[in-house]
């Protein structure tokens, strides 16, 4: 099989204007907003804890991770639950979009127009018709500093 014909499936979703994707193989499930318990005194990127069928799952606010303002009041985030070696972690995104099959050969490095957290949190991009699909780097995403550099609590 030639490189050109290998397709990768991505679960895609939006975050503000961004169209983001994670390989479906990383995804455990996608669920609606859940009752969440806030965790004080940790990075604001950690959105809280949810009970997923008896398992404690930490939720990560992708907007905060990207430095974006919180989602508009009254709008529900979606939980994209990714399976990690030490348990599931949920990533809060705006809206779930289609699962896209894209040719692996079309994968490109992150263009230099991206900067800041955005750039660091992506492994690369795909140019689709009229839009860009940004592929999230889950490991980096979840590498949240103990207490965010920019936060000090009294």
């Amino acid at each position: 099989m030639s490189v050109e014909t290998i397709n990768i499936s991505y679960c895609t979703f939006t975050l503000g204007d961004l169209h983001l994707g994670v390989p479906v193989t990383e995804i455990q499930e996608v669920i609606r907003a859940q009752v969440r318990t806030r965790v004080p005194l940790v990075s604001s990127v950690i959105n809280g804890l949810i009970n997923l069928r008896g398992e404690l799952v930490t939720t990560v606010d992708l907007r905060a991770r990207f430095g974006l303002p919180p989602i508009a009041a009254g709008t529900e985030s979606m939980n994209v639950v990714v399976r990690r070696d030490d348990g599931a972690v949920s990533i809060l995104v705006d809206e779930i979009r289609d699962v896209l099959d894209v040719a692996a050969a079309d994968f490109e490095p992150v263009p230099s127009i991206f900067s800041g957290p955005c750039r660091d949190l992506m492994t690369g991009i795909y140019k689709l018709d009229g839009s860009l699909l940004l592929v999230l780097d889950i490991d980096k995403l979840l590498d949240v500093p103990a207490v965010h550099r920019d936060e000090v609590h009294s």
Binding site: T37, L49, T58, V144, V147
Partner: protein, 737 residues
């Protein structure tokens, strides 16, 4: 049958099949070693039952997979075929497939399109392939793996056949299957009973009513026995976890070309079901680790004068109120010098640190995060789970793990597990909308405080006195320092707002941290509960004010407070603690004469300090982020517009900031507004006993102190804010106070 009955049958089927399959892994590995007709018959029966029932329940994929498996097994049973590594692997693959189907059925209710054409073909081929066939006694034993020796259990015979399950279990008519949730409920009720018993015992007096005293004692004894009895219903033998290991070791030895013998001792040692679940993965990892990293290759073993077959030994026993589980190997041991090199290479220790540690101390680096990743963990040895996760998980249930090694002779991991469960009695309290659990062990007593509303609308709590600006409660003549839990978490969650609704009372939970007692002030005390402590995930490792979390009866998650962590955080164990903000009404700029934590920064060549209580966050903004609103600089911050105040301008101090460079901003948050104070450079946070010289004539400066030999101006935040942005802060601070 109606739907409910069918569901019940399907559930029973799944539970029963899983139980039988767990036994099967072990039996199959045993079979590979010794073609015992009893074991074949047992395996056959299990698969036969699954096939029959799945046909009945209409699970056709499961039926077809188990059917070909049954076929193959019947030929083994009738000695038409001899067992071989290929057949064992095929049957193990079948067991995996059956597990997968059962799992799917239990989550989605049907087989959801699962299909195993390749497996079915493989098993069919194995059933027709003419392997040996005619030498019933001389089965070709696989070279790699001797299943298990059970020491001091049933008989000392090597490879002793486990009894058929029917024999060592009570007859069906004498056992009941009980939902675990029912046992949990019982456990909770017993917890309640224990609390009530404790209260009643307080009324017992030596000179009191003898009848009452005798009855109380009787209640005491019965309660204790009942508690022990209910705990016992949750106990399961560690065998339930170990059963999987012969298979694990078998697969590993084949994959990495080693030879291993697995010995187990003390498999009947019982543990609480919850603890057993929690140690399953860590133990599996340690067993894999023993084979993969502990044991040498057969060639290397020969070269060092050992037999080619390595030994992995599991033992479990009680010791001093704990259960000890040991996982040892007779491999090469861990070379401390190698660890030193690796730790230095990975940047976990400096060369000096590494060499100043003893060999024994060095061993512990294997538990550091980032040590046993990538190269150390081969694709075999697990899913990238490092030893740090093993330790975290074991510590999560209140256990510990230690390692001992003798170079050339082997390594032993010793896991200590508390007998007294990860289920602890706790007090559930609430602050605003949030509930927290406080483990009973930290509790001393509860005190209730009445509150009323002042004419200005502020909440005034009775029974609180102020000593040097710190809230205390006089409890039986002793001054008890108070900590408002709301304050501890305030910056994050409560934003300085006392409460949306006026309250009539507050509660003090008197707790003990080391030698210090203090009172945690909470809104409400809702309940006592037996809670199951679940460890926080890796992302929340740094949350040292929490001991874990638990899932409450209503399905919500509640955080478990770590009283020691809270005491450390607010400095109650170190010195006189800092003042608390909103609830105390102490102006944070009133700094003189107390221990204070200060944020140190510079403006030009001046050193300044700011009480840390005034700091919500530290931010960095690039000049491109700054917009102008009228004459004022503003930034978009957390979905809102935040004013920026150039502290240099406000204080009349020249700034050495370079145009176009990112700006350092201290975010101050009051009742409902945030404002950013632009400074030059942020240095440090110090805790100092301030000896402030008043310099009242200087605008915005509360006083001057000498910190680290530097003359440091401590700024009066509120004063600055009132004059800089009067529209926002002229009154807000009073409201907050």
């Amino acid at each position: 049958m109606d739907d409910n009955e069918l569901d019940e049958v399907v559930n029973e089927f799944i539970v029963e099949s899983h139980e039988n399959l767990d036994d099967l892994d072990r039996a199959l590995v045993l079979l590979e070693h010794d073609n015992d007709p009893n074991v074949v018959a047992r395996i056959f029966r299990t698969i036969h039952t699954i096939k029959g029932t799945s046909g009945f329940l209409g699970f056709s994929t499961l039926e077809s997979v188990s059917h070909v498996g049954e076929n193959l097994l019947s030929k083994l049973r009738d000695r038409e075929l001899m067992i071989s590594t290929e057949i064992t692997s095929g049957l193990l693959a079948m067991v995996d497939a059956i597990r997968e189907i059962l799992q799917t059925v239990s989550t989605s209710g049907d087989e959801a399109g699962l299909a195993y054409p390749a497996l079915v073909e493989r098993l069919t081929e194995l059933a027709v392939a003419p392997t040996a066939g005619v030498e019933p006694e001389a089965a070709p034993a696989p070279a790699t793996f001797t299943p298990l020796t059970e020491i001091a259990e049933t008989t000392p015979d090597v490879g002793e056949v486990p009894k058929p399950q029917g024999e060592d279990r009570p007859p069906a008519s004498e056992t009941l299957r009980v939902d675990v949730s029912l046992l949990d409920d019982l456990m909770n009720l017993v917890g309640e009973l224990v609390l009530a018993r404790n209260q009643i015992l307080q009324f017992v007096q030596p000179q009191g009513d003898p009848a009452f005293n005798a009855t109380s004692q009787r209640l005491n004894l019965i309660t204790t026995e009942l508690q022990a009895g209910v705990m016992k219903t949750r106990m399961q033998p560690i065998e339930n976890v170990w059963n999987k290991f012969p298979r694990v070791v078998r697969d590993l030895t084949i994959n990495c070309g080693k030879q291993a013998r697995l010995e187990m001792e003390g498999k009947h040692t019982e543990l609480d079901k919850t603890l057993l679940e929690a140690i399953k993965d860590p133990l599996t990892h340690l067993v894999r680790n023993a084979v993969d990293h502990g044991l040498e290759s057969p060639a290397n073993r020969l070269a060092s004068g050992k037999s080619t077959e390595g030994l992995v030994r599991l033992s479990a026993y009680h010791e001093g109120g704990q259960v000890i589980v040991e996982i040892s190997d007779d491999g090469a041991g861990i070379d401390a010098d190698k660890l030193r090199r690796k730790a230095i290479q990975k940047g976990l220790l400096t060369s000096e640190e590494a060499h100043s540690r003893s060999d024994r101390e060095m061993l512990n680096v294997i538990f550091l995060p980032g040590f046993s990743t990538a190269e150390a963990v081969s694709n075999i040895s697990g899913r990238g789970v490092g030893m740090d996760v093993v330790r975290t998980n074991i510590e999560g249930i209140g256990g510990s793990v230690e390692v001992q090694t003798v170079l050339g002779a082997g390594t032993t991991f010793r896991v200590k597990i508390p007998l007294t469960l990860a289920i602890v009695p706790a007090l559930v309290v609430s602050v605003g909308q949030d509930r927290y659990a406080i483990p009973q062990v930290s509790l001393i007593e509860l005190v209730r405080l009445d509150a009323h509303q002042s004419p200005e609308g502020a909440t005034v709590i009775g029974g609180i006195e102020w000593v040097q600006g710190l809230p205390v409660h006089r409890l039986r003549g002793q001054l008890l320092p108070l900590v408002f839990l709301r304050d501890v978490f305030e910056n994050d969650l409560y934003d300085g707002v006392i409460d949306s609704e006026p309250r009539e009372s507050f509660n003090i939970v008197v707790v003990q941290a080391d030698d210090h007692q203090f009172g945690l002030v909470v809104d409400d005390i809702s309940d006592t509960a037996e809670i199951v402590v679940k460890p926080l995930g890796r992302l929340l490792k740094s949350a040292d004010t929490f001991a874990g979390a638990t899932i409450m009866g209503d399905g919500r998650v509640a955080l478990i407070l770590d009283v020691m962590g809270i005491a450390n955080r607010i400095g109650i164990t170190t010195s006189e603690r800092r003042g608390s903000r909103a609830a105390t009404g102490v102006d944070v700029t009133d700094v003189s004469g107390t221990w204070r934590r200060l944020l140190l920064f510079s403006l030009g060549d001046r050193h300044l300090g700011l009480p840390l209580e005034a700091v919500a966050r530290l931010e960095e903004f690039s000049p491109a982020d700054i917009e102008m609103s009228g004459h004022r600089a503003v930034v978009q911050y957390r979905g809102e517009i935040m004013h920026l105040i150039d502290l240099g301008d406000e204080l009349g101090m020249p700034s050495s900031r370079v145009e176009g460079q990112p700006m350092q901003v201290v975010v101050y948050t009051d009742a409902n507004s945030s404002v950013g104070l632009v400074v030059d450079q942020i240095f440090d946070i110090v805790e100092e006993h301030l000896d402030v010289t008043e310099t009242a004539d200087s605008h915005g400066i509360a006083g001057t102190a000498v910190i680290h030999g530097q003359v440091t101006d401590v700024i009066a935040v509120k004063q600055i804010l009132r004059s800089a942005v009067p529209a926002i802060f002229a009154t807000a601070s009073e409201v907050a106070a």
